[in-house]
């Protein structure tokens, strides 16, 4: 299977090679940590050793030149050791406390903000968008840039009641954590797919296409002599899954594609169980390059949360306490028919109690 030059199935390099010596020595021995200031952590070991972390924001879609630039900084301040976080931030690992401020200085002058720790808004988990994906109902990188510009101060400070995690996904496949985020920005289609029967014949299997539809909207049909499918438009909710399995059913439609906004999800088991994100705004038209309606809506939600939530309350926990009616009141968002679930478990979301604030 292997030649000298081309080995297969070797797997990734062993992580041990990449651990800072202090980390290696104190692996599994960490005792506690402290946040020294926004973006700066210290972890202290049972042995007394410390490792300092400086967290910098990254657009995630970066060039090799950008990576080389941060490598230069890591060489200079971090003995050549760094890592990335599960939210795509860069973490510089420092043995020497003295290096923290100079590093931050250089990061800032290279346009990299430091922050994202504790009660901050961290980087936005996101996806490909128009940069690389065929399924996208919106762009991802541009949206993230526009939103993070607006929320920048929440990244570099820790003034929120608790952590606030945002995700962006450009279609219902949700290549991220949209379904469990404090705030989620989700690209959506709003028209049934446009079937190209000629192409369908060659590119798609009819049974697979039919079974791809979550709401059974697709049925076999002979169109102009071609064995194809048709979509019952009343049953289609524009998920795009048929397009995923059958390229002849494109669903993107500039007039109707856009953004929906979701709130109140979480992943951690801290205090409350993990929660799904729930619909806040059903539709905002795509308005590139800066999607002002989206950034405005997100900022509004963040500010209302910042003002009303109690310490240690995630967005979803805050809403659980005050109730959804109050959430819509405080944010000024409109509650519509679309907010009422009508999928499989819809019935479980109806309010089955008289416990209501009047």
């Amino acid at each position: 299977m292997t030649t000298e030059e081309r080995k297969t199935d070797i797997g990734p390099p062993n992580y041990e090679k990449f651990l800072h010596p202090i980390i290696k020595e104190n692996y599994g021995k960490w005792k506690y940590h402290e946040t020294l200031k926004p973006g700066v952590l210290v972890h202290v070991s049972e042995t007394g050793a410390s490792i300092y972390t400086v967290r910098g924001g990254s657009p995630r879609l970066v060039s090799v030149d950008f990576i080389r630039m941060i490598c230069d900084l890591a060489d200079k301040y971090c003995d050549g050791y760094l890592r990335f976080t599960s939210r795509n931030n860069i973490e510089f690992l420092l043995a020497n406390k003295e290096n923290i401020d100079p590093l931050i200085g250089e990061l800032n002058s290279n346009g990299i903000p430091v922050g994202g720790t504790n009660n901050a808004i961290s980087n936005i988990v996101h996806t490909q968008g128009w940069v690389h994906c065929h399924s996208a109902a919106t762009d991802a990188s541009g949206l993230v840039k526009a939103v993070m510009d607006e929320l920048y101060d929440y990244f570099t400070t820790m003034k929120l009641p608790h952590k606030l995690r945002i995700a962006v996904a450009c279609c219902l496949n949700m290549c991220g954590a949209v379904h469990c985020s404090d705030i989620a920005i989700l690209g959506i289609h709003r028209r049934p797919p446009n079937i190209n029967h000629e192409a369908l014949k060659n590119m798609c299997e009819v049974p697979t296409t039919i079974s791809s539809c979550p709401t059974a909207a697709i049925r076999p049909a002979t169109v102009e002599g071609i064995q194809s499918v048709e979509v019952d438009e009343d049953k289609c909710m524009y998920c795009g899954n048929c397009f995923t399995v059958c390229p002849a059913m494109p669903i993107a439609d500039p007039l109707n594609d856009g953004i929906s906004i979701w709130v109140g999800g979480k992943v951690s088991n801290a205090r409350t169980e993990p929660m799904f994100t729930k619909l806040a705004i059903p539709f905002i038209p795509n308005n590139p390059p800066r999607w002002p309606e989206v950034t405005g809506a997100v900022k509004n939600i963040v500010e209302v949360y910042a003002k009303h939530a109690r310490k240690y309350e995630r967005v979803g926990e805050w809403i659980s306490r005050i109730g959804w009616p109050k959430f819509f009141d405080l944010t000024g968002l409109e509650f519509t028919k679309y907010h009422i679930d009508d999928f499989k478990h819809a019935g479980t979301t109806y309010r089955k109690t008289t416990q209501i604030r009047h």
């Binding site: 992580y15 980390i23 219902l172 079974s211």
Partner: protein, 400 residues
Amino acid sequence: MADEKERKTPLLDELEKGRWPSFVTDLKKIAERKPMVKDLLGQLELSYKEKKGHWKHGGLVGVRGYGGGVIGRYSDLPEQFPDVKMFHTTRVNQPSGWFYTTKALRELCDIWDKYGSGLTNVHGSTGDFVFLGSNTDVLESIFTDLSKAGWDLGGSGSDVRTPSCCNGPARCELACYDTLDMTYDLTTTYQDELHRPAFVYKWKFKMAGCPNDCVASIARSDLAVIGTWRDNIRIDQAAVKEYLDNGLDITSDVVLKCPNQCIRLEGNELSIKNEDCVKCMHCLNVMSKALRPGEDKGATILIGGKAPIMEGALLSSVLVPFMKMEKPYTEFKELIESIWEFWDEYGVARERIGECIQRVGLGNFVEAIGLEPIPQMVSQPRDNPYIFYEEYFEEGDEEE
């Protein structure tokens, strides 16, 4: 040709404004030496204008001997943007916990600079180091150079996807098992399953060191391994006192936030009713210096998390409340393999394990893979009386 590319990108240029680092600025800079990026910017500008993507649907490309790891991508405007006619991504399997040396990173950059667009995602949502945009003909070379440097591809298609984990014991005091080692171990153990799609659909592993779940494993993986412990939270009363002295309002910030009301503060003394503690982490999060997980550590194993399509998003649910997580993870691997066997037999095409379990029923699933049904698997027993009794008395049976 070169001339044509001196396109204007007035819409994208708007994204150079503002304080958050701009990918447009970065891309425009590298575009100066990468025609591919120039065309990418051109096509993206068009997308911004038209509010529509310009990529064609998929396309099977790859490297020899691998069924996954590369996502084919073609422009639907190849005449207008010839340099992104092909724009495939290569998923490079990241090291556990996303730890790097600058040397390693530079190596990756050099390989990629040599063959591709020079654009990356650090990292992809699944965790890979993503090389974004190359032609088909360089894929083999990229792979060869990568493997020479000690790297391999990640997953794509109906296979094990690149496992990922939180930084765990490397830099976190809360880690209850070695997430990095386990991730490395699983990745290497299941290289074949990772590189040669043979499942009915994708399979994601994510390893989190504790219930804070800093890799969102419960939401985004078919199999989530989340560290926890069985014995008592370790309390350092001196540190408790220190927190009090520093003004922490332990009653309102900790005691009242405990989901199970199992913490008491009497004077300067904190006590925890550990048998009622559900290991939610909150008190440990707030009082990092004073509280530590117990010493009988392991993990909870949860199954079935995923994004919405088809049957609605799922959070993973408890399969094994507690398992010791020690090398070589034999018990764990046996469990995984019996699940895969089941999935292979009963899963239908494009059905994630979570959906499969929903369809066949958790009770049947658990029985089939040889686990005992236990109340920890559910938030509550059934509330409907539609029970399929498997045993009944036949006419001729003994009267009881």
